[in-house]
């Protein structure tokens, strides 16, 4: 605890999925020892489009939600992904032969990932936050300015009010304003692609199979939603084509979807609004400065090609909680720079690998060159023939490879 006229020990700016999860994890890990503030509009205030999205939750992220006491209720609304199919063909190919099939389960038989409707995650997080006495939620405020002193950070809200906090955590997402205010630069890569998101209903059951069609313009993924005959579509197109597609009449739009599905799940119909967002990969030059740390998309924004965005944010959260916990156990102040630096060292390597890896993967697949297709087909066929490599890829995507933070191994930090 810090001095008495301090408003918060930790202030979180951004109450989206990352911010809400961060507040839940901190409150769970530190209980009454930390006074937490959470600022920003929450997913309940999001548009219908945003709430209709679905997230791929990796097994390690599910484990963390379980430790936080959220997964038990959430599980009923999730669709486990048992299998992943990958195809690689030209848009006009019609039938898309399966090039690679993964058994998407870990060695103990549990699924490596789950598809969860965004709405359900939001409800469960908001429910949890409102029950926590150590978290003060300021949902209608925005952090507009900040100034650092040796003892704390003073934050000004858009309404003009000021609070102080020992540590400021930024979970504002990819285009964070606070990150700019803190003077932290970014390295970015514009894919010149737009992500198109929608939900569909289909005739044939998906059987818990996620399908990734690699098409010359960009990957097209159908992710199985609960219920068996609905799927979420995440699809990348180059910017010009995407704006045309997004403007289309429903009938024409559906035709475009159908063409890409290649008849995989039978006749399809639209089951939700469509939305588009520009795809950018970016990574910050620093994760932390004294009394300030970036978490989730505000630190690293990745191509949705592997559905890892929220999972990387969850990993940030788990690691940060563990670094703070270890620091507190040796009596350090919650904002001690050595705690923040350890968080940065632990996360930066991982985040750099992912951001660059997905850029490479996207470049490798998003083209119509015969040479690249041959290389991909040899590569994917090889992967298909090597069960060890396959299961290691599944482990990597599930977040159970490498040094796993405690919250993601199912224990409290």
């Amino acid at each position: 605890m810090n001095n008495s006229d301090q408003d918060f020990d930790i202030l979180i700016s951004g109450a989206g999925f990352t911010g809400l999860t961060l507040a839940s994890a901190l409150a769970f890990s530190f209980g009454k020892t930390l006074k937490i503030g959470l600022v920003g509009s929450n997913p309940e205030q999001y548009s219908e489009k945003q709430r209709k999205r679905a997230f791929a939750i990796a097994a390690s992220s599910a484990k963390m939600l379980d430790v936080l006491g959220l997964w038990k209720k959430l599980k009923a609304y999730t669709q486990p992904v048992y299998k992943i199919e990958i195809t690689d063909s030209a848009l006009e190919a019609g039938v898309r032969p399966v090039l690679l099939t993964y058994n998407n389960t870990l060695q103990n038989g549990t699924p490596a990932s789950f598809i969860v409707p965004a709405q359900k995650i939001a409800e469960s997080l908001l429910d949890n936050i409102s029950s926590l006495s150590t978290v003060e939620f300021l949902p209608h405020k925005t952090c507009s300015d900040l100034s650092f002193s040796s003892n704390n950070v003073s934050v000004e809200f858009d309404c003009g009010a000021r609070v102080t906090t020992s540590l400021l955590l930024c979970a504002e997402g990819r285009d964070s304003n606070l990150r700019k205010r803190a003077g932290i630069g970014i390295i970015n890569y514009n894919h010149k692609q737009t992500g198109i998101v929608t939900n569909i209903a289909h005739e044939e059951p998906h059987d818990g199979t996620a399908i990734q069609h690699f098409l010359p313009a960009g990957p097209f993924a159908s992710l199985p939603l609960p219920g068996g005959k609905r799927s979420a579509i995440t699809w990348s197109e180059n910017d010009e084509r995407a704006s045309l597609i997004l403007e289309m009449q429903d009938r024409d739009f559906l035709e475009e979807v159908d063409k890409r599905m290649g008849g995989k799940l039978g006749a399809v119909s639209l089951d939700g609004p469509r939305s588009g967002f520009s795809l950018k990969t970016q990574l910050v030059t620093k994760f932390v400065i004294p009394r300030f740390a970036l978490v989730g998309d505000s630190a690293h924004s990745v191509h949705p090609i592997a559905g890892q965005g929220l999972n990387l944010a969850f990993r940030d959260i788990a690691v940060l909680c563990e670094c703070i916990s270890d620091g507190k156990r040796i009596g350090l102040d919650v904002a001690d720079l050595t705690i923040l630096k350890r968080y940065e060292r632990w996360r930066r390597f991982d985040a750099t690998c992912y951001t660059n890896g997905f850029v490479g993967l996207n470049l490798l697949f998003s083209n119509n060159s015969h040479l690249f297709r041959t290389v991909r087909q040899i590569g994917l066929t090889l992967v298909n023939k090597l069960p060890d490599l396959k299961s290691s890829l599944v482990r990597e995507a599930s977040g159970t490879n490498g040094r796993v933070p405690k919250l993601m191994s199912g224990i409290s930090p």
């Binding site: 605890m1 810090n2 001095n3 008495s4 020892t33 040796s150 003892n151 004294p290 620091g327 507190k328 156990r329 040796i330 009596g331 350090l332 102040d333 001690d336 720079l337 050595t338 060292r345």
Partner: protein
């Protein structure tokens, strides 16, 4: 690699008050005093000390927990222990020890250091008994402590054996003393003097006098003569690739020792 927190050889403040003592080096005290404002700046002059602090704190906690047989899982494992921090500087160790539950008395001969430490503790809402005092003066009160820390101090005093004897008087029988310093080896000359001062410029040239460094067996001899026993020794090494410090069996440069006062008389 090694680190230390000795002051820069720049202009001395002329108004520094020194308390009379036979076993402190005025020049050293003035160095620290002239940098007193910078103690809590993690990227400033005492940066290496901030970096190494978690490691030292973990060592102190683990040694105490083992010796006093305490449950480690608690957030304040040192609860109820009385602790003396000799040469506390700006309070970089005193504050975490207090948060861990110890009742801390912290002394430093520099008025500036104690002023910085007091102001910071007030801001952190921590109750620490800071005093402008030397270890020798404190022995006159007859008070002793469960845990006595003497970190990066012994290489800065004129009579090292005498300091160890003084420290021994301040720990209760059955209590422990933890000291840290730098080994006197060819490697410490290369890394601590040539590397850190002349090449990396982590510290100003002339910060350390190599001949004041102590070999672990020399320190052990002083300690045994003072009635401190059951020597436990660990090295501290710097990994330049990870930019991080870790505990190690290698004591060639920086090392920490912990000893128990075994005699029962005062």
């Amino acid at each position: 690699m090694y680190l230390d927190h000795t002051g820069i050889l720049k202009m001395y403040k002329s108004n520094i008050k020194l308390i009379p003592s036979t076993n402190i080096d005025d020049r050293e005290v003035k160095h620290f005093s002239s940098q007193a404002d910078g103690w809590w700046d993690p990227s400033g002059f005492f940066r290496p000390l901030h970096q190494i602090n978690p490691l030292r704190l973990r060592y102190i906690r683990d040694q105490s927990v083992r010796h006093f047989n305490i449950e480690i899982s608690s957030l304040n494992p040192l609860k109820g222990l009385t602790c003396l921090d000799i040469g506390c500087g700006g309070g970089l160790t005193s504050e975490p020890l207090t948060r861990m539950g110890a009742v801390v008395t912290a002394i430093d001969p520099s008025e500036e250091n104690i002023a910085t430490a007091r102001a910071h503790a007030l801001n952190s809402g921590l109750d620490i008994d800071y005093r402008i005092e030397t270890a020798e003066q404190l022995t006159e009160t007859g008070i002793y402590y469960d845990l006595v820390l003497c970190l990066e101090v012994v290489e800065h005093v004129p009579d090292q054996s005498k300091l160890v004897k003084t420290v021994a008087k301040l720990v209760r029988p059955g209590g422990i003393v933890i000291m840290s310093t730098i080994n006197r080896t060819l490697k410490s000359y290369a890394l601590a003097i040539i590397g850190a001062e002349y090449i990396l410029r982590w510290l100003p040239i002339g910060t350390h006098r190599w001949n004041k460094f102590l070999r672990p067996y020399e320190l052990q001899t002083f300690m045994n003569q003072a009635g401190l026993d059951q020597f436990s020794l660990t090295g501290i090494v710097y990994d330049p690739l990870q930019c991080s410090w870790s505990l190690s069996g290698n004591t060639d440069v920086n090392y920490m020792v912990s000893v128990v006062r075994t005699d029962t008389t005062n």
